[in-house]
């Protein structure tokens, strides 16, 4: 256990130093995305009411965390795969899962400023109060890790690194436009609403809403569905990084 913890700390340091040149830029992008979501998206609604505003603001953390997990992380991994750097990393006497957790930690930390700012700016801009439950921390952590592990599974599983980038772009487009994150499920056609019953996106947004506001959400169901997706994505990633060519 001590050895695993030591490996985790060392790999965390390595990942933090490796990403140091781009981390400030990534954090700045996260902040811009946060402002874009909570203010920019409200321009779609000419007469924004408090309910719509709450949907926008509480949907923003899910969007930011998924953007990080499903776009930024896979892009960096795809670049590393194309350069062959994983051949080196996997040759080190470090459990691959430890490396993945250290990497995931970095991505979760990178997305935190954007999430916090989106909530503060959004609540102030739309003039309503957040009601933050202690469950907000595990909820946001679960959303972030699920996004990162799905991103990892795509990035490590794609036959070619370029395909991973393409796949993540399509997924983000689907999440932004065709998912009930910043609007209610009732606004979707039935078939798309049914599809979302099996996907984690709607439940991620529910986790945000249920732990950051007084909106009525089935948190148990949301934790369960997103938890299952998180474990499944983790297991797929685990299998992918342990396979030998």
């Amino acid at each position: 256990m001590a050895r695993t913890l030591r490996s985790y700390v060392l790999m965390l340091k390595w990942q933090a130093l490796s990403n140091k040149p781009i981390l400030p830029l990534e954090a700045a992008v996260q902040v811009m995305i946060a402002c874009g979501f909570v203010i920019g998206l409200s321009f779609f609604y000419p007469d924004i009411n408090p309910t719509t505003a709450k949907f926008l603001v509480t949907g923003a953390p899910t969007l930011i965390l998924l953007m990080t997990g499903l776009v930024l992380a896979p892009q960096i991994i795809s670049m590393a795969r194309a350069e062959g750097t994983f051949d080196y990393i996997w040759s080190l006497p470090v459990k691959r899962i430890v490396y993945l957790l250290a990497d995931a930690t970095i991505w979760v930390l990178v997305s935190l400023p954007g999430v916090v700012l989106a909530l503060i700016i959004g609540a102030a801009y739309h003039d309503f109060s957040l009601e933050i439950s202690p469950l907000a921390v595990p909820a946001l952590l679960l959303i972030a890790l699920t996004g990162v592990f799905i991103g990892y599974a795509i990035a490590h599983g794609a036959p070619k690194p370029q395909l991973a980038n393409l796949a993540t772009q399509i997924i983000v487009f689907f999440i932004m436009i065709f998912s009930p994150v910043v609007y209610p499920t009732e606004q979707l056609p039935d078939w798309l609403a049914t599809l979302h019953n099996g996907l984690p996106i709607k439940y991620m947004a529910d986790l945000s809403r249920g732990t950051l506001t007084d909106m009525d959400v089935n948190l148990g169901l949301a934790f369960s569905v997103v938890g299952v997706w998180c474990v499944a994505a983790f297991l797929v990633t685990y299998a992918l990084v342990h396979r030998r060519r």
Partner: protein, 340 residues
Amino acid sequence: MNRSEWSITMKTNGTGDKRTVLEIDRVCKSYVKGTRVNDNISISLAEGEIFGLLGPNGAGKTTLVNQIIGLVKPDSGGIVLDGVDIVANPNYARQACSFQAQTQVPINGLTTMQAIELVGRVRGGGAGGVRKRTRELIRELEMEEWSRKTAESFSGGMRRLVAFCMAAVIPGRIVILDEPTNDVDPLRRRLLWQQVRNLIEKGSTVLLVTHNVLEAERTVDRLAIIDQGRVIGTGTPGSLKENGSRNMRLELILEPRSEVPESPGFMQHTILNGRRMIVKLEDDDVAPAMQWARKLKDTGVVEEFSVGPSTLEDVYVKMVGNSDALIRPEQEIENGTYAS
């Protein structure tokens, strides 16, 4: 030349009483059905030796290394390290081997010191010992100027030196170096080879993967030559050269734009690389060859010439016989006409 004439089957590890550390036994690997990247490869490394794995690009060297460190699984055959089956237990291989990859090492954002120290700590070294060893490597390789700079600005050669230090800081039972001197300047190459020898003194065994035959000849104790996935020769540089039959070579540097000279009788095996021409000689042919070369120099056909013992490169060219794949592309000529 029939390839089999050059092959030497090694029944033992060829180093007398030294203990075998790594045993690669009839390893086969295909990525695409029907195309074997490694074809029945058997090699054994003895404790404390520098073993060279030579071969042209695409010969299957890196695939073999990737099987040793558990990135690639053999289709058949076995790999045993210190008595442990590392095909079944790749984690043991990663503990026991330190590795300088041919590919990029993820060191952007890290200083030279940080990169080397991190790997040293990851490999189980204590903070003080790793720092001391890191400083020693940086000093010995004359890299002090770069020790606190981040790697983004490093040349390819400097990145390779850092990667070497990362493999050498806490060396494994086996240190695998995949093309360690690519892009490294000539002075630091010498320093690097000294450090490779130091690894042996520290108790490691070195597997050196290269296509640089000249450097390998000066460095390795034994070697295997791989071509098209198969081992086509194994032994010491000396034993391989003896099997090359012709023991001497005449090297001519032609004057620019001069014609390839007429071929005397002894000029049966000739290799041409730009203006450089190498003629294999029997011992009896040395005197007439010198006379012939002097005459060519006097008539302005040849700029300079030299006679010396055959090199491993000569043997390698004959064995591999694939001129396009060499680090110095060479064309074989027979009877004075190009036959490439």
